[in-house]
């Protein structure tokens, strides 16, 4: 249907894949992320213990490198005697789920707003740009905390609240990219053969924003993971006994004097996950070209 004048098409996919495999960020970050995703998906096969099963007789057992450790809890147990390895493994599900969920909600809002602002311009652009500016002025941590506190803490509320806050970068990037595409020949051509505005917008422009949107999405996944951890740490995110890494850090804080590994382990997991997502995002930005920069 499209006239395909200077449109980046699928023939580029192979070249892009080859470039991706030569990029350190994509290989290292993507590889790490793949491992973590697999761990999250196959959590029951990897950790045999129930992450929420308490055993007060076996509380605060140390991990394997310390004295007094036992083989069946090789990363020890927490203050309620729950297996720490199982909690860490299942915690990956919470982090990844929140990250992807928030990026999906935020992406849907941001990309839609950005498309309309960039394509129609004029007063539509003015109104949407104003909404973006207003959103940026809100202190995100405090607003999220307040919204979760008032809306009732649950995983769904958390994802919705963060998604409603983290759409601004999607909107800004989509708007700029749409503006630069709106006057290109293939868009004009599509319009000339009588395609409706909405069809042009979603049929011609949107597919060409894929790279840019994916790069922003990785950024926001990382952002959402860190925010979820911070909110859970402050007691206004994921509810116990759900194993969230941020919540585990908060619970370990009581024992910071004698058992700092309770904090060190979930925090390290967070670092590795966010690092992996960021490396992948940086790598993708480098290979997908200037539109996203």
């Amino acid at each position: 249907m499209s006239l395909a004048i200077e449109t980046p098409t699928r023939s580029n996919a192979g070249r892009l894949a080859r470039r991706a495999l030569r990029n350190t960020g994509v290989v290292v970050g993507g590889g790490l992320l793949l491992v973590i995703v697999l761990v999250a998906v196959f959590a029951p096969l990897i950790a045999h213990a129930d992450p929420t099963a308490q055993n007060l007789a076996a509380r605060l057992l140390p991990p394997f490198w310390m004295d007094r450790s036992v083989p069946e809890h090789f990363l020890g147990t927490d203050h309620l005697g729950r297996d720490y390895f199982a909690r860490l493994v299942y915690g990956a599900r919470v982090s990844l789920g929140v990250g992807l969920g928030v990026a999906a909600v935020g992406g849907l809002i941001g990309v839609t707003l950005g498309l309309f602002a960039g394509y129609f311009g004029g007063w539509v652009d003015m109104v949407i740009s104003f909404v973006i500016t207003t959103r940026l002025a809100l202190p995100i941590v405090l607003v999220a905390l307040a919204a979760v506190a008032l809306g009732g803490a649950s995983l769904t509320t958390l994802v919705l609240v963060l998604g409603l806050l983290l759409w601004d970068r999607f909107a800004v990037v989509t708007r700029a990219a749409t503006q630069s595409l709106a006057n290109r020949d293939f868009v004009a051509g599509s319009r000339a053969i009588g395609r409706a505005e909405i069809g042009v917008l979603f049929g011609e422009i949107l597919p060409n924003l894929r790279g840019a949107v994916i790069v922003v999405a990785t950024l926001e996944v990382a952002n959402a993971i860190l925010l979820e951890a911070a909110l859970s740490f402050l007691g206004l995110g994921v509810r116990p006994p759900t194993p969230s890494w941020g919540l585990m850090i908060a619970e370990g804080r009581e024992n910071i004097l004698f058992d700092p590994w309770l904090i060190a382990l979930p925090g390290s997991c967070l670092c590795v996950l966010v690092l992996a997502v960021n490396l992948l995002g940086d790598g993708l930005r480098d290979i997908t070209g200037p539109v996203t920069r």
Partner: protein, 307 residues
């Protein structure tokens, strides 16, 4: 220039109004704020008493206008928990947060700019790679976790700094380090990429060709132009630091505005939360407006654009 400033101020004013709607409206998210304030242990009579005392039974527009009139006169409402004017409570706590924010910002700037400049001058060298690695790590480490780990190492194991509170200046060391490392990576990257763009520009090559010493080319010609995006980002980062201090203040038990906001949320002291959201948002609006005006002063090309 005057036209630019007027346009920019108008936008800022409109954003401020929108932000005031949002911070006012947020407490109605749960439905009835009277029930939220009365708490889970409160009876229907308690809720009714709160409703009457705070005038929640009036039309919402009337309540908003009443609140805004108060805010414009410096009255931010009354705290439910302390039974004191919110403005007094916030005023007692805001200084610590501002001090923490500005110290962290200054340190971040002091590290980010030289590091970014050097990284750009020696692109792909060891220094550049180390600087980028330092930045990538800073963006991946959750700041509250870094704070706790530093408390473990320097507070518990070595006992060099207090493990909580800011009674002495030593109490500021760790929170400032953590917050500045949180703000630094983005500033370093912007400085670096700005410098890389500028170093390739014709006028820098001309400056070099006419025999100007290297450091003068950097400071007088390159940095001056590379600094524009950094000014915009600085305003954003200062806002980020102030709102990010909510988490850090509770890690280090710093008695600032952020910790006050968190504690107020836990005890459903909604007027305080409302006021702090508004204050933080207005500070952000003021900072970004100021940075836009500074950028327009430095770069005539910006003045012509729509605000």
């Amino acid at each position: 220039m005057l036209g630019f400033v007027v346009r920019r101020l108008t936008v800022a004013l409109l954003v401020a109004v929108a932000v005031s709607w949002l911070s006012f409206g947020l407490i109605f998210m749960a439905g009835d704020p009277a029930i939220a304030i009365a708490g889970s242990g409160g009876s229907a009579a308690d809720a009714a008493a709160v409703r009457e005392a705070y005038g929640f039974d009036r039309p919402i527009v009337v309540q908003y206008l009443d609140w805004v009139t108060g805010v414009l006169g410096g009255d931010l409402g009354r705290s439910v928990y302390f039974n004191m004017p919110v403005s007094e409570i916030v005023a007692a706590r805001v200084k610590v947060t501002l001090l923490l924010g500005f110290l962290s910002f200054a340190l971040a700037l002091l590290v980010a700019v030289p590091l970014g400049v050097v990284a750009a001058m020696f692109r792909n060298s060891i220094v550049d790679r180390l600087a980028l690695g330092f930045a990538v790590l800073g963006q991946a480490i959750p700041s509250f976790w870094l704070g706790l780990m530093l408390i473990v190492v320097f507070g518990v194991w070595y006992g060099i700094v207090p493990i909580s509170g800011t009674d002495t200046w030593r109490g500021y060391i760790l929170p400032v380090l953590v917050l500045s490392y949180y703000a630094m990576p983005a500033m370093m990257r912007v400085t670096r990429s700005g410098m890389i763009d500028v170093l390739d520009a014709d006028y820098v090559r001309t400056a070099r060709a006419k025999g100007l010493p290297g450091w003068l080319v950097i400071t007088r010609h390159a940095l001056r132009n590379a600094v524009l995006p950094l000014i915009s980002l600085s305003a954003v980062q200062l806002g980020v630091l102030l709102s990010g201090s909510i988490v850090i203040e509770s890690v280090f038990a710093v008695n600032g505005m952020g910790r006050l906001a968190w504690e107020s949320l836990l005890r459903s002291d909604l007027p305080v939360v409302q006021a702090i959201i508004l204050i933080l948002a207005l500070i952000y609006v003021a900072l970004t407006t100021l940075s836009d005006v500074i950028n327009a002063l430095l770069d005539p090309r910006i003045r012509g654009r729509r605000a």
